[in-house]
């Protein structure tokens, strides 16, 4: 019978190879899917994966979408390394967007880029505050941060919905659920004319570099790594669990809040009923596809961004349903988790059946005497 056996040491090759295997398996499955939908798979792949990256504008869009994914993904990865599972980055992102928008709308007529600075700080603070709730409940009452942070996502959505339908609604906006457009001093500067990519991309790159430094060089990063790999060793060494939980949630909450400001002060330019197509959730996939490594997260968020944009062009050009994006994301995570199993296990080949042979001649083994 074939069976799985634990590897003596986790396989490094498999660890790096598993995202590639997952991506290939995803493509294979989608071939079948495209066939079933009556599409030419090669053409569909072209539309989905190649076409979006063929133009400068397309690459700009790719980077634009990768920005919030990277910011959220880097923060989540740091937490996941320490077994702190912040699932609510989308809520923290939403709260960051709300706080940033409130600052922008309050200083409607102010001049000067200090408004933008204040918006960024407010967004980071709001994301941290929203993440502080699961941190407090976990450290005080041992509640699951997974459930609390997830439920708070929906609370944040409802707060946003209330604000854009009520107090922050644009009085001249024909009753659309959205705020006034921000003035120019509350909009992040663009990196290049003609592209929508803005300086938030630089923030994301700085976050990646800082996270890399944090994880590989600082003692706080080491503590979190140990807590994730071997909780008993962390307790033995005297690392505080609570400190890790707070740090993980503050970092991921703050970065998600920053991503939220980046959206409202970037491509959106106002507060709308929805500020994120689920970036905070997609960032969970990004974190794992990126092997919880900052550089990996950057690459994974580019892939995820391609899935978003490719999904949109598939809707337009191939008339495929919008669910296709979620489907691709799901397939990717599904195959990744399956492939990850082989980091710690390997398949033992099938045995032949037990076949006792005819008696063999007795062999007396040579015995070496004591020296």
């Amino acid at each position: 019978m074939s069976r799985f056996e634990a590897r003596p040491i986790p396989s490094r090759r498999m660890m790096l190879g598993s995202p590639l295997i997952a991506a290939c398996a995803m493509l294979l499955t989608s071939t079948i899917l495209f066939y079933a939908l009556g599409q030419q798979p090669l053409h569909a792949f072209y539309v989905y994966f190649i076409e979006p990256a063929m133009t400068t504008y397309g690459i700009g869009e790719l980077l634009l979408k990768a920005t919030p994914l990277t910011l959220c993904g880097v923060g989540l990865a740091i937490g996941f390394r320490a077994n702190v599972f912040n699932i609510g980055a989308d809520g923290q992102l939403t709260m960051g967007a709300i706080a940033g928008a409130c600052v922008a709308l309050y200083f409607q007529d102010a001049q000067g880029y200090w408004v933008l600075g204040l918006m960024l700080l407010a967004g980071i603070a709001a994301g941290m505050l929203w993440a502080a709730i699961p941190a407090l409940l976990r450290t005080r009452f041992n509640t699951s941060e997974i459930l609390v942070s997830l439920m708070l996502v929906y609370v944040a959505y409802l707060i946003l919905s209330y604000l854009v339908h009520g107090p922050l609604r644009d009085p001249n906006g024909f009753n659309f659920p959205q705020s006034r457009m921000f003035n120019d001093h509350a909009i992040l500067p663009l990196l290049m004319d003609g592209l929508r990519t803005n300086v938030a991309l630089l923030f994301a790159l700085v976050a990646v570099a800082a996270a890399w430094f944090f994880c590989s060089r600082t003692f706080a990063g080491y503590r979190m790594k140990v807590s994730g790999m071997a909780p008993a060793a962390a307790a033995y060494a005297g690392f505080s669990d609570n400190a890790n939980i707070w740090l993980a949630l503050m970092i991921s909450g703050g970065l998600a809040g920053l991503a939220g400001v980046g959206e409202v002060a970037g491509p959106i330019g106002q507060l709308q009923a929805s500020v994120s197509p689920g970036y905070g959730f997609a960032a969970i996939i990004v974190a794992y596809v990126g092997r919880l490594q900052p550089i990996g997260v950057l690459l994974a968020s580019l892939l995820m961004s391609l899935l978003y944009i490719g999904g949109e062009s598939a809707q337009i050009e191939l008339q495929l349903p919008s669910a296709i994006t979620g489907l691709f994301q799901g397939l990717l995570l599904f195959y990744l988790l399956a492939a990850d199993f082989f980091i710690h296990y390997r398949l033992k080949p099938k045995f032949t059946n037990l076949t006792p042979l005819t008696p063999v001649a007795l062999v007396t083994p040579p015995m070496s005497p004591l020296p």
Binding site: P10, F219, V226, Y236, A237, P371
Partner: protein, 518 residues
């Protein structure tokens, strides 16, 4: 020689291994191993950690497939593909770590393997267990049983399948001296009926007492065979390690001031299977080694966690370090006060399996009070860390690639040398060591014990918690016994004997009024 070794009815070997080899990517576990076991023979397999004993046994029991070689069973060449196939042939194995469901009864556990209902089995379990002098009540829940009783269940489970060969992997590491004798009687009875026994152990005196013959493995190869009763423990050990056996020396020394004091330490446990600690008092002075004997599960885990700070006590005065109340301190605070600790579990607690030895050096050496210099402004100084790890590796003869090898790639004994070395190099005032040589081979065990004795000679207060009485008698100045969460007084080694401590280990000591503070 034991008459059972050559029963009249059968003179061909029960089991023959011919040229068995098993290679792993980094090591050769077995290299051309050839041996045979006669019916009714109790055959010892001796060797250091990593000598390939366990791999060989797993090959016989069908868990591992050999790369080359033949297994001949009762004169027929066989391939054993799985433990089920091994059991079908009549091969049983009792593992070092038990495979019982704690929430089920004995009969239910056994029924899982036998494919009969627990009710049908109950009477047979009673009969067989009594026949071999290993009484077991089939209706008891496993979690309520001591380790020794659980092992009986494992053995009875094998016996019910009427094995022709029983493999026992370090069976006595968890037993009291009295239970060991009971086990040996049962094994002798079994052998007298023609069942062969392969017996793996580190304990040479047991092998001399029990076994008819011995095969010694060294680095995966047969290093020789011997009749244990005709050898001395020393010559067997030297055959195992392939060189002359070093020994550790404990010279009398007058202890100094009390460094670690326990005062009426009482601890309730939240774990339903845990042990409550009751009114534990003890002094450990500078320049002495105090041993705590006792079978695991009698409060060792709880006591160690209370000492290390992993459990914080409400009564701050219950643990005192250098006369300062320390019961309420966290592990980091305790370490800052000069306490170093080697836990029983090496992988996952004493060291992080996935990290390199250098990174594992940082695990405890980060405490500023130790002054290792590994951290500057919260940043890790990689070269300081690597140098520290290299020094441990050199001083404690840790066998590994280099300081970048990951911890889980080391054998148990070498990792233990690394952990003991790390804690030793942090210049502790008080050193606490749990099961210092559990599963560690002879050579490494002596090195570790000598390192602890050296610490004592430098004036460190050393507390050793161990199940191995021989070890405690080899290295301790005073010895106490922990049984059912209560601690006996600590008596100087000269005033006691292994027998007395053995009696105490069953819980039979007078606690009240005899605690003498020093």
């Amino acid at each position: 020689m034991n008459p059972s070794i050559t029963p009249a009815h059968d003179t061909r070997p029960q089991l023959q291994l011919l040229g068995i080899s098993k290679r792993y990517p980094s090591v050769i576990a077995n290299d051309n191993v050839t041996m045979s076991v006669m019916p009714g023979e109790i055959h010892a397999v001796l060797g250091e950690n990593g000598a390939g004993k366990s791999t060989l046994m797993k090959i016989i029991y069908g868990i591992i497939k050999p790369d080359a070689g033949e297994i001949v069973w009762q004169g027929r060449q066989v391939e054993i593909h799985s433990p089920a196939a091994a059991r079908k042939l009549g091969i049983g194995m009792v593992f070092q770590h038990f495979s019982l469901f704690e929430t089920l009864t004995v009969a239910q556990n056994i029924a899982l393997v036998m494919g009969q209902s627990p009710a049908q089995l109950a009477q047979r379990i009673r009969d067989v267990s009594e026949e071999y002098g290993l009484p077991v009540n089939p209706h008891r829940l496993v979690h309520s049983m001591s380790v020794g009783e659980r092992q009986r269940v494992e053995i009875v489970r094998c016996l019910l399948q009427s094995p022709r060969l029983l493999i026992m992997d370090e069976p006595t590491s968890v037993l009291t001296p009295e239970a060991v004798l009971q086990l040996f009687d049962a094994l002798r009875k079994l052998a007298a009926q023609g069942c062969s026994i392969l017996y793996i152990s580190h304990k040479l005196d047991e092998i001399q007492n029990l076994c008819d013959s011995a095969t010694v493995l060294r680095a995966g190869r047969i290093a020789g065979t011997a009749i244990p009763k005709q050898e001395s423990a020393r010559s067997l050990a030297e055959l195992m390690i392939g060189k002359e056996l070093p020994s550790c020396r404990l010279l009398p020394r007058t202890p100094g001031d009390t460094r670690l004091a326990l005062r009426h330490l009482t601890l309730e446990t939240l774990d339903p299977f845990g042990t409550k600690l009751h009114d534990i008092s003890l002094d450990v002075r500078s320049g002495e080694i105090v041993g705590i004997a006792g079978i695991s599960g009698n409060g060792q885990q709880e006591l160690l966690k209370a000492l290390s700070g992993e459990i914080r006590l409400s009564d701050a005065a219950a643990v005192q370090l250098d006369h300062q109340n320390a019961g309420h301190l966290s592990p980091a605070q305790k370490r800052a006060a000069g306490l170093c600790f080697v836990p029983e579990e090496r992988l996952g607690r004493g060291a992080v399996p996935e990290l390199s030895l250098a990174e594992n050096a940082l695990l405890t050496a980060y405490i500023p009070a130790y002054g290792s210099g590994m951290l500057k402004h919260g940043l890790i100084q990689n070269n300081v860390m690597a140098n520290f790890a290299r020094e441990i590796i050199a001083r404690f003869q840790v066998k590994c690639g280099d300081e970048q090898s990951i911890a889980s790639s080391l054998s148990g004994g070498n990792l233990q040398k690394f952990i003991v070395g790390r804690e030793t190099m942090l210049a502790p005032r008080v050193m606490i060591v749990a099961q210092p040589t559990w599963g560690v081979d002879v050579g490494a065990a002596i090195l570790i014990r000598q390192a602890l004795i050296d610490l004592r000679d430098q004036g460190v207060a050393v507390l050793v918690i161990s199940e191995e009485l021989d070890e405690l008698f080899m290295m301790c100045d005073r010895i106490a016994v922990l049984a059912s969460g209560q601690l006996s007084r600590a008596i100087p080694l000269a005033e006691t004997s292994i027998n007395q401590i053995g009696v105490w280990m069953s819980g039979d000591f007078n606690v009240s009024g005899e605690i003498d503070y020093v």
